[in-house]
């Protein structure tokens, strides 16, 4: 409760700060307009034409059954509808990574060591997709969609097989009991063969159906690469990072003005104070996100898609990461001006690395490789995915990763803040 009161107070203080409002709300809207207009030639808003590109197929299992699985995957890629898009090469993981580093390969689909064994034994299994962060967003989207579609199909078939097997066994046992004679093995085998044939046809139909779906996703994703939309997302991510700075300033001010001491003199714990400051940043970031989303939608006609839950969860996760990092920075510095300057510089550098100034596809590979480990890159890619119709489940690893970074840095910051307060008195 105390945390909510502190968070609400911080939002009110933020709303009274004209400079802060200018910096966090008006400035991003202007930047989206300026960058979107100036760099529209670098980010096409027409349907993309990416041509055929190379993809790696890595089989790490190398055991019984894996060859058939990998072969079926290659068959999918060789269908007419995908043939003019994807050019598969069988290779090792090292070769795939080396080719990606050299910029010769957009990505690779890896069949893990136990993939075929898991499929055969009826356990859940998943494919790994490697991709070059510097590769076109569209290419990686296609590759991920193909791998996901294939895996979903295999899992569906695997489930159907198990069901069929169970039904056949149940029927056979019932017949055997009624006739008081053992079920002939031949009958069971025949039934399994019939079901297998049916399922084979279903597999084929599903694989055929995959291509149009991928085409559809490709068409949908072309909408992302609209200049204003692109910068609406990258600028929103950058300014959510600045919201973290607002939190940083706020915590340092509470320390300097001794309002922090006064809050701690009231009933409640230090944890409630830190949680309150954290909520404050979250409230500010959420307000900022809503204003930017609504503003860009109505002013620039930006389409943010329909996955509102995903958008807000991702924005919250990123804001939590940045406010956690801000808490940590504020707790480790006694110089507010230096901390704010460093934070602003860091945000701008990581924004540039993550394609916030110049589109990712135009950046050197070395830069995008660095960017791929930064939280703002994850958030930017996550927003692109959501806007292009990805599901929340697909984004969960990103969201959880951001939450984890935020929570860890917040905990470290809270610990440091408490120790500093104890020393300073």
């Amino acid at each position: 409760m105390k945390a909510l009161i502190i968070g609400g107070k911080d939002l009110k203080v933020f709303s009274r700060d004209r400079t802060g409002l200018m910096m966090n709300i008006i400035m991003p809207l202007l930047l989206i307009l300026v960058l979107g207009s100036a760099l529209s030639n670098m980010v096409s808003d027409k349907a993309p034409s990416i041509g055929r590109f190379d993809v790696g197929v890595v089989d790490e299992s190398g055991a019984g059954g894996s060859a058939a699985v990998v072969s079926s995957f290659r068959e999918v890629l060789s269908q007419p509808s995908l043939k003019d898009l994807l050019n598969p090469f069988t290779m090792s993981r090292d070769e795939a990574e080396s080719a990606m580093r050299a910029g010769k390969l957009a990505g690779a689909v890896v069949f893990p060591k136990d993939y075929a064994a898991k499929i055969m034994s009826g356990q859940p299994a998943s494919l790994e997709v490697l991709f070059d962060p510097g590769a076109s967003y569209l290419k990686t989207t296609i590759l991920k969609a193909v791998a996901q579609g294939y895996n979903d199909t295999v899992l569906a078939v695997q489930f159907a097989m198990q069901e069929a097997q169970a039904q056949v066994q149940a029927q056979t046992q019932a017949q055997a009991q009624a006739q008081a004679v053992p079920a002939p093995e031949q009958q069971l085998a025949a039934e399994m063969a019939r079901r297998a044939a049916e399922l084979g046809q279903q597999i084929s139909a599903k694989l055929q159906a995959m291509s149009p779906r991928i085409r559809e996703e490709t068409a949908k994703s072309s909408g992302v690469v609209n200049a204003t939309q692109y910068y609406a997302i990258t600028m929103t991510v950058m300014f959510l990072g600045f919201a973290g700075m607002t939190g940083l300033q706020s915590i340092i001010q509470e320390k300097d003005q001794r309002t922090m001491g006064r809050i701690l003199a009231a009933p409640g714990s230090r944890l409630e104070f830190v949680a309150g400051k954290f909520l404050g940043v979250l409230f500010i970031a959420a307000s900022q996100f809503i204003v930017l989303m609504v503003g860009t939608h109505f002013i620039y006609r930006v389409d943010w898609g329909s996955n509102w839950t995903g958008l807000f969860l991702l924005a919250a996760a990123y804001a939590i990461t940045m406010s956690g990092l801000a808490t940590l920075v504020s707790a480790t510095t006694s110089n507010v001006k230096a901390a704010v300057t460093v934070w602003m510089l860091v945000i701008q550098v990581i924004t540039a690395l993550g394609g916030g100034m110049v589109p990712i596809s135009q950046l050197p590979k070395s830069m995008t490789r660095i960017a791929s480990v930064l939280p703002n890159y994850w958030a930017t890619m996550g927003f692109f995915d959501l806007v292009s119709g990805e599901t929340l489940a697909h984004l969960m690893p990103t969201i959880l990763g951001l939450f984890a970074i935020g929570a860890l840095s917040l905990a470290a910051g809270a610990w440091r803040l408490a120790r500093d307060q104890e020393r300073r008195g």
Partner: protein
């Protein structure tokens, strides 16, 4: 009955023993002054009593509740006025008070009544809607006090609440605190202004280098130096030449040189003054002469050899 009992309180920062075994107790309804120069350990003692710092040793009991065992109960009984203006400048006085009231669990009608009462007490009810950043230093100090009164604390701890304000605002604050004490509120008031402590407090603890070096009522403390007055002389030059001659004057008990002044302690100031001026004018020109009746400043000087504001 004691409202607060502080026993053997200790806190060190590295090798600096900021508080080294401070003990005192304050009765219900009493106004207790903690007097000492800057850096004596007053604020650290207050921070320990408030639970803002972890103590290295000792105990603090407020209203029968042990701070280390039941800090929430202790905090509910205590109101704290910090040395700094711990308010949010961009919020109005009322908004600040709403926030601080909620920090103490107040809400609804009770909160609004408390705010009205606190604003009335500090005389700023008509300016409540204005932002703190538009207030004068004195007005900010008054709201700083109002924020500590909202939950009607039994014990009000004030850490140098008049630092850096004009005399008029200072008088207003002192009268306010006097009024609160007259209504039964227990007060702990820290300051390095002995006049404030003399005006407000019935008992005083003098703190230096993290220790209480003297404690008692104002009369008890004055008795430490007897009914001696002090003559302060400022000479144009070479004051140290006359020190021995001054010490030889009958009824002069002590002659010291501090901060460019000669300080003469005597029980008969009127009797020795002619001889003192005669000795001084022989060697130098007298720039100023001041006579001081016994006060806490003299007590502190007597006990430590230093002035309170050194």
């Amino acid at each position: 009955m004691s409202m607060i009992v502080v026993k053997d309180l200790a806190k060190s920062f590295g090798t600096n023993h900021a508080v080294a075994g401070v003990s005192f107790q304050v009765a219900e309804g009493e106004a207790y002054g903690l007097l000492g120069p800057n850096g004596a350990g007053k604020s650290t003692t207050i921070n320990l009593v408030l639970g803002l710092l972890g103590m290295d040793g000792g105990t603090v009991t407020v209203g029968g509740q042990d701070l280390s065992r039941n800090s929430a109960a202790v905090k509910r009984m205590v109101g704290f006025v910090p040395q700094e203006i711990a308010l949010y400048p961009s919020l109005s006085a009322r908004e600040n008070l709403v926030f601080w009231g909620r920090m103490y669990g107040l809400g609804g009608e009770r909160l609004h009544q408390s705010i009205a009462r606190a604003l009335e007490t500090v005389g700023l009810a008509d300016r409540a809607k204005e932002r703190i950043e538009t207030y004068s230093g004195g007005m900010k100090r008054r709201i700083n006090i109002a924020a500590a009164l909202l939950h009607e604390p039994k014990l009000l701890i004030m850490d140098e609440p008049t630092v850096g304000i004009d005399p008029q605002s200072r008088n207003h604050i002192l009268e306010t605190v006097k009024g609160l004490n007259a209504r039964g509120m227990t007060i702990i008031y820290t300051s390095h202004y002995m006049e404030e402590v003399e005006f407000l407090c019935t008992r005083v603890g003098i703190i230096d280098h993290g220790k209480i070096i003297a404690e008692g009522t104002l009369d008890e403390l004055r008795r430490i130096i007897g009914h001696r007055s002090r003559i302060r002389l400022r000479l144009s030059s070479n004051g140290h030449r006359v020190l021995e001659r001054l010490r030889a004057i009958k009824e002069v008990e002590k002659v010291e040189e501090a901060a460019g002044e000669i300080v003469i302690t005597t029980a008969n100031p009127a009797g020795v003054l002619p001889a003192v001026t005669a000795e001084c004018t022989e060697n130098a020109r007298i720039q100023s002469v001041a006579l001081e009746e016994p006060n806490l400043e003299a007590v502190f000087l007597h006990l430590t050899g230093r002035a309170l504001r050194d």
